[in-house]
């Protein structure tokens, strides 16, 4: 059972009056992450909504030491910091607990331009946590396609719908054989909290990806942010799982879908709620388009069900 809401700690690392859109799922998620990490951490950010939201010099909305770095560099810069604090501690120039070094990066900075440095950090098993808050597009520049954009999605660079399915990023990180990989989303704060606490206490490379339904990019009413997050999980469009040392376990409610205790909701409702899909579903080809989206989801569920059986 995930930690209950009432048991979540009081500390707030995300300060009120930040620069994010109302209802921002990334900010929502970061608040929970902050409760799990606490103040003794160093945050890295690549250009993204999270940067536009953090306040402009000299004002800061996050209550951590933060460093903005070049877009491709989360994996390498985080490695630089974690090596720096460790050697400075060894040499006695730092006192107290080692801070947790974590990157807070969008899907563009994770799936695309930042993937190489991230993959290399995983290969070196650097002692960092990489968070990907995934809003399935380049939101900060106005919604362009990314490697995380699902097939059939409208973006400004795929006006008739993206042709290729998204990368299965969390699985790719899993196949790097790192000690911890997890997926989460804003509708399940207790689940997210527990995963971050777990990651914080594991040495080596950790990857946590958080689905972040963005009303601006996905085109729904901002008040529905958490609803969309929940629908994504219930329809199987987003799967909740974690893997310690390569062993996958699914988290509720995804676990129910995986082990057949519960049917995944058909994707229609989820899709129709979002302008990024439904604007392309007004033509006669709507049924095939929906079927394609449903097909990608079904494939992913079936695949991960099998993949989880490998426990070597």
């Amino acid at each position: 059972m995930a930690t209950s809401i009432k048991k979540l700690p009081d500390n707030e690392q995300v300060l009120s009056g930040n620069g994010a859109c109302g209802g921002c799922p990334a900010t929502m998620a970061l608040r929970i992450v902050g409760k799990a990490l606490g103040p003794n951490a160093i945050m890295l950010l690549t250009p993204a909504c999270a940067v536009a939201s953090m306040g402009m010099t000299p004002r800061l909305a996050y209550n951590w030491p933060c460093i903005n770095i070049t877009f491709a560099s989360a994996g390498s810069s985080a490695s630089g910091i974690s090596n720096a604090v460790e050697i400075m501690k060894e040499k006695g120039r730092l006192q107290g607990e080692l801070p947790t070094v974590f990157s807070w990066v969008g899907d563009g900075g994770t799936y695309d331009i930042g993937f190489q440095a991230l993959s290399a950090a995983a290969e070196r098993n650097e002692n960092i946590i990489h968070f990907c808050y995934n809003n399935e597009a380049y939101s900060n520049t106005g919604i362009q396609r990314s490697g995380a954009t699902p097939r059939g999605t409208w973006t400004t660079t795929t006006p008739t719908g993206k042709r290729q399915p998204k990368k299965n990023m969390a699985q790719l990180m899993l196949e790097h054989n790192i000690p911890y990989v997890a997926t989460a989303t804003v509708a399940y704060p207790g689940d997210l909290y527990d995963k971050v606490v777990k990651a914080k206490n594991i040495r080596g490379m950790k990857y946590i990806e958080i689905l972040a339904p963005c009303y601006l990019g996905w085109q729904f009413d901002m008040a529905e942010t958490v609803q969309l997050s929940r629908m994504a999980v219930r329809s199987g469009a987003w799967l909740l799982w974690e893997a310690e040392n390569g062993k996958i376990s699914f988290n509720s409610p995804t676990s129910l879908i995986i082990n057949g205790k519960k049917e995944a909701a058909p994707v229609d409702e989820y899709v129709m709620k979002q302008g990024r899909f439904n604007r392309l579903l007004k033509g006669p080809d709507a049924p095939e388009r929906i079927a394609e989206i449903q097909g990608d989801i079904d494939h992913q569920i079936a695949f991960m069900r099998e993949r989880a059986k490998i426990t070597i």
């Binding site: 160093i42 953090m54 800061l60 390498s76 910091i81």
Partner: protein, 376 residues
């Protein structure tokens, strides 16, 4: 001054020994000819325990410098090295390092750039970085490489600007020469530990390089421009104190040879400037009053020291090992003209681009070039 030690070392190994002497904390690295030898030496020192530091073998140069600047922001003393396309690949992060005032020290082992591929020395790689806001030295011997890296850390940490130490591939990096190693206590006296006045510190949370409105952004850039110029006295001080402590001297912002009474002044940097001393001797033997002015500091451009040093009515023969695209000739010539404009109308400047892609620059060849330029 404690007893120093003399040994035969390559320029690349001299650089690694300087890194060890500077007690560096973090060294991200990636191989590229001819720089690779430095990283191999450092990796060896770290694994053998000779140097208590972290070597991070990242997956490419953009990541090398990204790891370096971040480690520096965390408060570590950071070194790295690269060459040619490795340096070009770092370009975006070079701007970040200076804009963020992070005192990383990097060796660039000069090599011509792609396309097409060449392995051999010219200066297009580092000179194409002249607008990135880094302080740049050029060295003309193994000993100067060693000495300069130590001086570079001092200056970088004093003024919070990254420093690039350039020297030619092969001609210096793979050239075995005598190297004088000062005693470690002397070096420690010259270069105390890094004490940044700001770092990423959970006890005092603060953020680095958020989005910045013009009203704040412009002053940051102005300060960077001002502080780069303000590093000149620090460069001189570092050279002087290094001399006082170790007895060694390579010049401060500039280095000269037989310049006082010169009518013809060779103007060049890096290893060719060392060879040019011999060319000057040849020309003098031929009855030409030749001399040499070598900017040891390339950025900031030591305009005042050059203006002071140049003899009246001298013909300055600028020998560039790079191209200043969009202008005829090379970059050094153009920068020299710009600083002499309206201030030294007595000077004539002539310019040739030589030694591109590693063309061997011998004392005789360069003496001939200079003689030919005189009759232009």
């Amino acid at each position: 001054m404690k007893a120093a030690q003399v040994r035969m070392e390559t320029g690349a190994y001299a650089a690694a020994l300087a890194v060890k002497s500077a007690r560096v904390d973090v060294v991200p690295g990636y191989p590229i000819t001819p720089q690779t030898s430095i990283m191999e030496a450092v990796a060896g020192m770290v694994e053998s325990g000779e140097l208590n530091a972290r070597f991070i073998p990242v997956e490419g140069e953009h990541s090398v410098l990204a790891a370096a600047v971040a480690a520096s922001a965390a408060g570590a003393r950071v070194f790295t090295a690269t060459s040619a396309n490795g340096l070009l690949y770092m370009h975006e992060v070079l701007h970040m390092a200076s804009g963020g005032r992070l005192p990383v020290v990097m060796c660039n082992v000069n090599r011509g750039i792609f396309a097409p591929w060449t392995l051999w020395a010219d200066h297009q790689d580092s000179m194409a970085q002249r607008d990135t806001g880094w302080i740049q030295y050029h060295c003309s011997s193994n000993q100067e490489v060693f000495n300069t890296i130590l001086q570079a850390f001092r200056v970088a940490e004093q003024i919070n600007i990254p420093v690039m130490v350039n020297f030619d591939g092969f001609a210096i990096s793979h050239c075995l020469m005598p190297l004088t190693l000062p005693a470690q206590e002397d070096i420690d006296r010259f270069l105390p530990p890094h004490e940044p006045e700001w770092r990423l510190d959970p006890a005092h949370p603060s953020s680095f390089s958020n989005v910045t409105m013009a009203a704040e952004y412009a002053p940051f850039r102005q300060m960077l421009s001002d502080d780069i110029l303000a590093s000149i006295p620090l460069v001189k001080q570092a050279a002087q104190e290094y001399k006082d402590i170790t007895g060694m001297w390579d010049g401060d912002t500039i280095d000269t040879y037989r310049l006082e009474d010169a009518e013809v002044v060779a103007f060049a940097v890096n290893s060719m400037a060392a060879e040019l001393r011999l060319s000057v001797d040849i020309l003098r033997e031929q009855g030409i009053k030749a001399g040499l002015l070598r900017p040891r500091l390339y950025i900031p451009f030591p305009a005042e020291d050059i203006i002071k040093a140049l003899p009246q009515n001298a013909q300055v023969m600028v020998l560039d090992r790079n191209y200043n695209f969009g202008h005829p000739g090379g970059i050094l010539a153009s920068e020299l003209k710009s600083v002499l404009f309206g201030r030294r109308n007595d000077i004539t400047i002539k310019n040739r681009v030589i030694g591109i892609g590693g063309i061997d620059l011998t004392r005789r060849f360069m003496a001939d070039e200079i003689r030919a330029m005189m009759n232009e």
